[in-house]
């Protein structure tokens, strides 16, 4: 099961966070800070999975941006690792350039892909379908 999904930049600022299990707001800040500290402290030749407390972190770095996913032990690390990439590919397809000005859209995409801690959709066209409809409504 996926516990949370984070996008953090190299300076440690959280760009996007989505929790699939209840975590107190103030605890979130601490958790995010520790998570990014853990990720930043690792070099490129170390493995992308970190054991952290009673769960695991799977992270992937894209330029200055880290995508970190917290999972429990029943989840398949490699599948989540690729899910991150799939997510980034979807973002890539939808946004022509900078994504961080359209965070609401990113949220919609993420909600299409992950729901209640489960991977629910990975088909790129289907993930984007409702978003395209929305855009059309906005245009007209």
């Amino acid at each position: 099961m996926i516990k949370f999904f984070l996008m953090v930049n190299k300076q440690g600022q959280t760009r996007l966070s989505r929790y699939y299990e209840h975590v107190d707001i103030n605890k979130r800040t601490i958790l995010e800070a520790e998570v990014i500290k853990n990720c930043l402290s690792r070099s490129k030749d170390q493995c992308s999975f970190i054991e952290y407390k009673d769960f695991k972190l799977v992270y992937r770095q894209y330029a200055a941006l880290f995508v970190v996913v917290g999972i429990n032990e029943t989840e398949n690390e490699m599948a989540v690792y690729e899910l991150i990439h799939n997510f980034v590919e979807v973002l890539d397809k939808y946004f022509s350039r900078v994504i961080m000005f359209n965070l609401d859209r990113v949220h919609i995409i993420l909600d299409e892909m992950v729901l209640n801690g489960c991977i629910v959709e990975t088909n790129r066209n289907r993930i984007l379908a409702p978003l395209f409809v929305l855009d059309k409504v906005a245009e007209s």
Partner: protein, 1021 residues
């Protein structure tokens, strides 16, 4: 408040959106519903969501299924009636909808895999199609077809095939194909392969597949890609318990991973080693773990690993010295974050010892000596827990070491007491140790000094100890008596009834003191006094008395629940407490002889969580045990040789090729420190009593009456009624004893008598298939062989009853059953018909103990003789003990004809068998309603056949045996009770074709169960 109102509004908006025809709106509404949704609003939107399952657009159907998954997660019983819709979703023509339903199935199969075995074939076919590339091309990810879907399916198959050879058989082919297909070198195929390997090793093994999976693991482990290596180690850890040889194949890789620069890889490797530890390699593996601990700073990792080391040390320790040293390392490294079980277990081990007394003393002596050396160092900082362990051991066993002056030990403890870093809890432990040591020394200057010092301490606890010590020192004989040597394991007798206080009590009573009343009695009296003032009919105390009656069994002032009743028979012998160390936190202050000063080993043993960083402490402790091993390794200069050596020590005792052992001993590993079974027993009994306690609080009235009734085997109806009413409140007493018999006949039973044939068959047709619809062939057979179908005696004929059905039969005997729904219980009438031409002797009927049911009187019945061609009858009264919608009561018949024969049978009982109408006035209903806390609400659709409220209520009355209290406008109230006396109230309201049901009951499971029955009944009609 504001925000909750606000969110309510949002949800109502969503409901509107759900009814909208705009695709985007519906889509967004469904997404919201499947993310955050309050449990109590599910009934309102469930019908809308169900409609959406038939929507023409796949995206809507898919999202509706996702919403149902959310509902299933937060309230499984509210969607249990639409399981067939899940199946429809699984068979949906669109792959996306099907994939969404898999989440629900994974969850349901996790909870109960046996219920879904029939779907194995479907899952296999789906996986085959996915693997075969039958899905549309846009499901591919890097040209792998729907990889996450494959992983999901593999997980489901693993759960289904576990320990089930027949089901596993079905999936071998597709697993083989998956392993074969996933050959492209891409991360996502590795993810699929990993899942595949796990599934192959989870299901019933097939050697061919295992071989392929093992090859796959090998590829992972050897891969230069670090992520893959990690995955390989994880897979290896998973499979290694079943196939230790696999570890031997990869031993060199594992050794390399042990020294890997990445700590995560190291930790995963240690996890793997932990699984293959045995008596031969324990020293090396524990050493590696301790090495890792030295570098680790993360608290969670330390706790985890320290626990593992302690476990391994206890299980496989080769000698005393090593064991004590390792435990020292554990305590000093783990510090105060270690799990409290670790010091407790360690001390218990020391105290209880093993079979060999001499060995025990050696272990204890070694422990004492090692602690003395540790305390030698002046400025050493030890964690509190470690100090506590030390002081307990020194106090108990320091006298074993004859060559050390007790004065020296006392001086050391004294200096510890003055240290600032020692917490007050630890000080108490130290004081206890001092007292114990003082008891077997003649006269000690240090003790005197200590008494003087702490007699005016600001810490009251310490002052108390100092005074106690002072008085004890004045009477050495008493002190010796109180603190016998090595008696920490001796059983103590606790006089739970506090008989020694009898005199005091009678004296008090003689002087005119009021007799003691238990809490619930006082409360009842208080309430009844209020009633006298109010001049209002009293009927409110139900909830209060229910909750308080659960407590009555636990008045034992020692805090230990012996289940003893306190009704004045204090002459009974004290209960034996078998395991003194389990009594942490319980201060045994009173014994038969009067006041008992605290036994030292229990003082202050509550393990308060204390966080003290102790990373710096670990280095020193760890050094010693490694000495022998590191010497050995150091002598070999070449690095490779070193690794070889390490490998051979690590993997000794594994698999068939255990011969590689260089330093391993020849003898097989035996568990050195075996726990004594005694502990397990007490733990079990404790668990059992805990369970009882918790059960008692849930089902107060049920459990409290049952034990009493078990005792009187006659099962006299009058006494039972009286006893039931004793523990329930007035209102129930009235209902049960006086009103119920009449009202039952009046309102429910008489009606049903007339049409009982019809309503019964429809009522029980679905839940009791086993009984009510015997296979036609069996029926004919029995009819032809037995001319006489047994029938009920006249007095029972008048009550409502089911048809007589056959349960089982053999050549000689046939068994029939008839359920009779009496006012106070379910009467199971069993007929035994002897088909032979000779008499059968000593026929024994026995019901097995069932989780949910309680058979009043005894569960067995013996017929001394059953004459040829005749029928005998026996009756058993049954109550429902734990609420369930349906349960099975099984039993067996044992008789002797030519040989011993045993016939087994089972009876399906439904919740409805135990529901009876409960007559009351509208006023009483209102009061009781307010006093009940557990409620469940649900809207259900009304079928056109019962469009009016009264029609619906009549259905409920007839089929569920509810009593209609009143009907006002479009609202109706009904009441019923679960035998013997748990009420459940129902409030119904109709609005626009829906029936809103609202249940309340003191028992939380009852409304859920009844709701389910209501839904079923309403759907049928």
């Amino acid at each position: 408040m504001q925000s909750s109102l606000h969110s309510k509004e949002i949800f109502w908006r969503k409901e509107l959106d759900l009814q909208s025809t705009n695709l985007v709106e519906v889509c967004m509404a469904l997404t919201i519903v499947s993310q955050i949704f309050p449990r109590e609003m599910i009934p309102a939107v469930l019908p809308l969501i169900e409609d959406k399952l038939q929507h023409s657009k796949e995206i809507i159907r898919r999202k509706a299924v996702q919403a149902l998954y959310k509902f299933y997660l937060i309230a499984p019983n509210q969607v249990q009636h639409i399981h067939d819709k899940f199946r429809k979703a699984l068979c949906d023509r669109d792959a996306g909808v099907m994939a969404a339903s898999l989440h629900i199935y994974l969850q349901m199969i996790k909870e109960n895999s046996s219920g879904y075995k029939d779907l194995t074939g479907s899952f296999v076919t789906i996986l085959k199609q996915v693997v075969g590339g039958k899905l549309p091309i846009d499901f591919n990810y890097h040209s792998v077809p729907a990889p996450w879907l494959q992983i999901q399916l593999l997980r489901i198959l693993g759960l289904l095939g576990k320990d089930d050879p027949r089901t596993s058989e079905l999936m071998y082919d597709v697993l083989d194909e998956s392993l074969r297909r996933a050959e492209i070198n891409h991360n996502i195929t590795y993810a699929i392969l990993f899942e595949c390997v796990q599934t192959v090793y989870t299901i019933h093994p097939k050697s061919e597949l295992l071989e392929k999976a093992a090859k796959c693991i090998g590829k992972f482990v050897l891969s230069p890609k670090i992520n893959l290596k990690y995955l390989g180690l994880k897979a290896l850890t998973y499979v290694i318990q079943q196939d230790p040889n696999l570890a031997l194949q990869h031993q060199m890789t594992i050794i390399e991973c042990l020294d890997h620069p990445d700590p995560i890889i190291k930790r995963e490797t240690l996890e793997l080693l932990y699984r293959i530890t045995n008596g031969h390699n324990v020293i090396v593996i524990v050493q590696k773990m301790l090495d890792y601990l030295k570098e680790s700073k993360e608290e969670y990792a330390i706790i985890n690993l320290v626990g593992k080391i302690a476990e391994l040390a206890e299980k496989y320790a080769p000698d005393n010295e090593w064991f004590i040293q390792t435990m020292n390392a554990v305590f000093s490294v783990g510090g105060d974050v270690v799990h409290p079980d670790i010091p407790n277990n360690f001390l218990r081990l020391l105290a209880e010892g093993f079979d060999d007394g001499k060995e025990d003393d050696q272990l204890r002596m070694y422990a004492v000596k090692s602690y003395l050396t540790l305390l030698e160092e002046e400025d050493a900082l030890y964690p509190q827990k470690f100090l506590q362990v030390m002081s307990w051991v020194l106090g108990e066993y320091s006298s074993l070491v004859t060559d050390v002056d007790p004065e020296v030990i006392l001086a050391k403890l004294h200096s510890l007491l003055k240290k600032t870093f020692v917490t007050s809890e630890t000080k108490v432990w130290i004081m206890a140790a001092v007292t114990k040591i003082a008891s077997h020394t003649s006269h000690s200057k240090t003790v005197d000094k200590l008494i003087q010092e702490f007699s005016n301490s600001l810490d009251t606890c310490m002052r108390q100890f100092a005074f106690e010590l002072k008085h004890l020192c004045e009477d050495k004989a008493l002190m010796k008596n109180l603190l016998p040597f090595d008696a920490s394991c001796t059983d103590m007798v606790v006089d739970a009834s506090l008989s020694f206080l009898d005199e005091f009590v009678s004296e008090g009573l003689g002087r005119g003191a009021a007799p003691y009343k238990p809490h619930h009695q006082r409360q009842e009296e208080k309430l009844s006094q209020e009633k006298a003032l109010n001049f209002e009919p009293y009927g409110l105390s139900f909830a209060a008395s229910v909750s308080s009656s659960g407590i009555t069994g636990r008045q034992s002032p020692t805090g230990l629940s012996f289940g003893s009743d306190m009704s004045g028979n204090s002459g009974e012998t004290g209960h034996k407490e078998t395991n003194t160390l389990k009594l942490e936190g319980v201060h045994k202050l009173w014994g038969k002889e009067g006041y008992l000063p605290k036994k030292e080993n229990k003082v202050g043993k509550e393990n308060e969580p204390q966080t003290v960083s102790c990373g710096s402490l670990l280095a020193r402790q760890v050094g010693d045990p490694s000495a022998s091993q590191s010497d050995q390794v150091a002598s070999l200069s070449e690095e490779d040789k070193e690794k070889q050596q390490l490998a051979s020590t690590l993997f000794t005792g594994l698999g068939s090729s255990a011969g590689v052992s260089l330093m391993g001993k020849a003898d097989t590993a035996t568990q050195k420190f075996k726990r004594k079974s005694k502990i397990n027993e007490t733990q079990n009994s404790e668990e059992a009593s805990d369970f009882q306690n918790s059960a008692a609080s849930d089902f107060g009235p049920l459990l409290d009456t049952v034990p009493i009734n078990l005792e009187d085997c006659e099962g006299n109806v009058h006494t039972r009624l009286r006893k039931v009413s004793l523990c329930s409140s007035d209102i129930v007493e009235d209902n049960l004893a006086f009103e119920t018999p009449q009202s039952l006949k009046k309102s429910g039973l008489d009606d049903r008598l007339s049409d009982s044939r019809l309503s019964q068959s429809s009522l029980f047709a679905d839940s009791n298939i086993e009984i009510f619809q015997p296979s036609p062939s069996a029926h004919c057979e029995s009819a032809s062989k037995i001319p006489l179908v047994p029938s009920l005696p006249e007095e029972l004929q008048q009550l409502t009853h089911s048809e007589v059905v056959e349960l089982c039969q053999s050549d000689a005997l046939a068994l029939y059953l008839c359920k009779v729904w009496t006012d106070d219980s379910l009467l199971l009438t069993v007929f035994l018909s002897n088909k032979t031409n000779s008499a059968l002797n000593a026929v024994n009927l026995m019901f097995e103990e069932a989780e949910h049911f309680q058979i009043l009187e005894s569960p067995t019945y013996q017929f001394p003789v059953i004459e040829a061609q005749s029928v005998e009858r026996c009756e058993k009264r049954v109550w429902m003990d734990k609420i369930c919608t349906q349960g099975i009561l099984s039993g067996s018949i044992h008789y002797q004809s030519e040989m011993d024969t045993r016939l087994e049978f089972s009876v399906t009982l439904s919740l409805l068998d135990f529901i009876r109408p409960m007559a009351m006035t509208t006023e009483d209903f209102g009061k009781l309603w307010l006093s009940l806390s557990n409620d469940v609400k649900q809207n259900i659709k009304m079928s056109p056949s019962q469009d009016s409220l009264s029609a619906a209520l009549n259905t409920l009355q007839q089929k569920l045996k509810l009593h209609i209290v009143d009907i006002i406008g479009n609202e109706g109230i009904l009441a019923c009770q679960l035998l013997p006396s748990v009420p459940c109230l129902l409030h119904c309201r109709t609005h626009s074709g829906m029936l809103a049901l609202w249940f309340r009951s003191p028992c939380s499971a009852l409304p859920d169960g009844l709701l389910y029955q209501c839904q079923k009944v309403m759907e049928e009609s």
